[in-house]
C-alpha cells in the first residue's frame, strides 16, 4: 500500500536519511523502531509531506505522493499523528476533531463527518464526555487519544503514528495499542514509529530497524523480537 523508495533527506548540509526504503502492505501494522536520532520522525514527516526530500520517492497505492504537499497527501488518505501529540490546546476537543476533518468540507461530506465522529467517540468514549473542554486541559493519555481521533477524522486509509506512547503510563500505552490493533482489524493500515520497541513489535506484523539514517534490519515482527543481536543493539536488551 505504502512504498518508500530510496529516500534521502537533509537538514541543511546534514544528511538525516541516507536512502531509506520501506513497505507497508495493505491491512498490516508495520512498526519502525530505532534509537534517538535515528531518523524515525524525519522519515514520517517526509512521508507525510511536512519535510521535503532531496531524492527518492513515496508511493501510496501505486500513486506518487512525493512533493504533493501535506494537503494533497492527507487528501489521498494518509494522515500523520505527529510526535508529542500536538493537540490544539486553546481549542475545545470537538473543535480539534472537526479540524481533523478539515478537508472533508461542505454539506456533501456532512454525513461522513458525523459517521467518523461517531466512530471516534466509540473508540474513545472519554472524548465524547470531554468534547466541550479545552484540549489543553486533558491529561497526556487523553491528549494522545484526541490526537489519534483527530487523525481518524481525516478518514485515512493509512494512519501514521509518531511515538504515541511518549511520556504515557504503561497502562495507557497498552490501551492505545489495543485501540490501534482494533482499528487495524477493521481494515485500517498502520505505520507505527516507537521507541517502546517491544510493545510495538508485539502488535505489528512486520518491523524495520532504523539507525543513523539507514535501515539496518527488517523482517517479521516476531523474528525481530526473538533476534538476540537486534534486541541487544537497538531495543535495549
Amino acid at each position: 500500500m505504502l512504498e518508500v523508495r530510496d529516500l534521502h533527506v537533509y537538514y541543511g548540509a546534514v544528511q538525516a536519511l541516507k536512502g531509506v526504503s520501506l513497505e507497508v502492505p495493505k491491512g498490516s501494522i508495520v512498526t519502525l523502531v530505532g534509537s534517538n536520532g535515528a531518523g524515525k520522525s524525519t522519515l514520517l514527516k517526509s512521508i507525510a509531506g511536512l519535510l521535503p526530500s532531496r531524492s527518492g520517492s513515496v508511493w501510496l497505492d501505486g500513486k506518487e505522493l512525493t512533493n504533493l504537499g501535506a494537503e494533497g497527501i492527507v487528501a489521498r488518505g494518509l494522515c500523520l499523528v505527529p510526535e508529542g501529540r500536538q493537540v490544539f490546546g486553546t481549542l475545545r476537543v470537538i473543535d480539534n476533531l472537526n479540524l481533523g476533518a478539515f478537508l472533508l468540507r461542505g454539506a456533501k461530506h456532512l454525513a461522513k463527518r458525523q459517521e467518523l465522529l461517531e466512530y471516534v467517540f466509540n473508540l474513545f468514549p472519554i472524548l465524547k464526555e470531554r468534547q466541550e473542554q479545552y484540549a489543553g486541559t486533558l491529561s497526556g493519555g487523553q491528549q494522545q487519544m484526541l490526537a489519534i481521533g483527530r487523525a481518524i477524522m481525516a478518514n485515512p486509509r493509512l494512519l501514521v503514528l509518531d511515538e504515541p506512547s511518549m511520556g504515557l503510563a504503561p497502562l495507557i500505552v497498552r490501551e492505545i495499542l489495543r485501540v490501534l490493533k482494533a482499528m487495524n482489524q477493521q481494515g485500517l493500515t498502520i505505520l507505527l514509529v516507537e521507541q517502546n520497541a517491544r510493545a510495538a513489535l508485539k502488535v505489528a506484523s512486520q518491523g524495520y530497524v532504523l539507525e543513523t539514517g539507514s535501515m539496518v534490519a527488517q523482517g517479521e515482527a516476531q523474528a525481530l523480537l526473538s533476534d538476540q543481536n537486534i534486541l541487544k543493539a537497538y531495543l535495549g536488551g
Binding site: L50, V74, P82, D95, G100, F102, A147, R150
Partner: protein, 324 residues
C-alpha cells in the same frame, strides 16, 4: 457566533446609540463622542489585528502602512482627482489587500521576531514613500481639503453623524469577524496558532491561511484609514508612522488579543488614556501611561476584556483566591 453572543453585541450597539445623549447631559463627558470617533477608527484596525495576532498567531508591526494606504488612496483620489469617496475607499482597500498579499507571501514564512522585523521594515518603507513622493502625497506637509463623506445626499458633516457612521461600520466589522473566527477558516487560524505541525498534518495549508488573515487585517486597516481622512479632512505621513503601528499592538494587548471584545476595549481604553484621562497628570502623563500598561500586563495578561471573567472566578473562589 457562539462565543460572542448576539445579545451582548446588541447591548453594546444600543449603548453606543444612546451614549451621545447621555454624554450631552453629564458634565465633563461632552468631548467623549468625538474621542469615540477616533476609538472607532482604531477599533476597525484592532479587530483585524486581533484576527491576525490573537487568532492566527502572527504579528505585524507595520499595520500603520495599510491605514496609510487607505488614507492616501482616499485623500489623493478625492482631493486631487475629484473621484467618488466610496470608490476611493474601495480602491484603497483593494490596493492594501494586493500589497498585503505581496508582502505577506514571503514574510509570513518567517516566525516570531523575524516576522516582526520584516513587517516593521515594510511599515518604514511605506512611511518613507509617503514622505518622499511629494508630487502625489504632498510630502511631509501632507494633503488637506479632503472632502467629507455623504451617502444618498446625507452628509456626515457633524461629529454626531460621523460617530454613528464609524460605529456602524465597527459593529458590522465586529459581526463579520465574530462569524469568521467561529467558522471553518477561523478554526484553521487557531489551529495554525496552536501547532503548525499538527495543522499541516491535518491538511491545513498554513501559509495560505496566514496570508488570508494578513490580507483581511490589511483591508480593515485600510478601511479605517479611508474613513479617518474623510473625518479629519487632512493626512500627513506622521499619522502613519512606526509609533502608530506599535500603539495598535499595545491596544490589542491591553484589551486582550485572544478576543474580539479585547480589540474594541483596548482601542477605546488606550484612546481615552492618551487623549483624555491622563491629561490631568500633565508632565507625568507618559509615566502614568507606562505604569497603567505594566499593571494590566502583569495582573491581566489576557487583557482588560478578561476582567469580568476574572472577577467572577474571584468571587466564586472567595477573596483569598485559594482553591475551594
Amino acid at each position: 457566533m457562539k462565543n460572542i453572543s448576539r445579545r451582548s453585541l446588541l447591548i453594546f450597539a444600543v449603548g453606543l446609540a444612546v451614549f451621545p445623549w447621555v454624554a450631552k447631559m453629564v458634565p465633563g463627558l461632552g468631548d467623549y463622542p468625538e474621542v469615540l470617533i477616533y476609538a472607532g477608527v482604531y477599533s476597525l484596525i484592532t479587530l483585524g489585528l486581533s484576527v491576525l495576532v490573537g487568532f492566527a498567531g502572527q504579528i505585524s508591526l507595520g499595520h500603520a502602512a495599510f491605514f496609510g494606504i487607505g488614507a492616501y488612496a482616499s485623500a489623493v483620489g478625492t482631493a486631487t482627482y475629484n473621484l467618488d469617496p466610496w470608490l476611493c475607499l474601495l480602491l484603497g482597500g483593494l490596493v492594501s489587500m494586493l500589497v498585503a498579499f505581496g508582502v505577506g507571501v514571503p514574510s509570513l514564512k518567517l516566525k516570531g521576531h523575524y516576522l516582526a522585523m520584516a513587517t516593521l521594515a515594510f511599515g518604514i518603507i511605506v512611511f518613507i514613500i509617503f514622505n518622499e513622493e511629494v508630487t502625489i502625497t504632498g510630502g511631509p506637509d501632507g494633503l488637506n481639503r479632503i472632502p467629507g463623506l455623504s451617502l444618498f445626499g446625507f452628509e456626515f458633516n457633524t461629529t454626531l453623524r460621523f460617530y454613528y457612521l464609524i460605529w456602524s461600520v465597527v459593529l458590522l466589522a465586529f459581526w463579520f469577524c465574530a462569524n469568521l473566527v467561529e467558522s471553518r477558516i477561523g478554526r484553521a487560524f487557531r489551529a495554525v496558532h496552536a501547532s503548525e505541525v499538527a495543522a499541516m498534518a491535518m491538511g491545513i495549508n498554513i501559509s495560505s491561511h496566514k496570508v488570508q488573515a494578513f490580507v483581511l487585517s490589511a483591508a480593515l486597516a485600510s478601511l479605517a484609514g479611508s474613513l479617518y481622512v474623510h473625518y479629519i479632512n487632512f493626512i500627513n505621513p506622521s499619522t502613519c508612522n512606526l509609533f502608530f503601528s506599535v500603539k495598535l499592538i499595545i491596544m490589542i494587548i491591553m484589551g486582550g488579543a485572544q478576543s474580539l471584545w479585547g480589540a474594541v476595549v483596548g482601542a477605546v481604553i488606550v484612546t481615552f488614556l492618551s487623549n483624555e484621562w491622563l491629561h490631568a497628570f500633565q508632565e507625568w502623563e507618559v509615566l502614568i501611561y507606562g505604569a497603567v500598561l505594566l499593571l494590566v500586563i502583569i495582573f491581566l495578561p489576557d487583557g482588560l476584556a478578561s476582567l469580568p471573567s476574572k472577577v467572577a472566578a474571584w468571587r466564586r473562589r472567595g477573596p483569598a483566591g485559594g482553591a475551594s
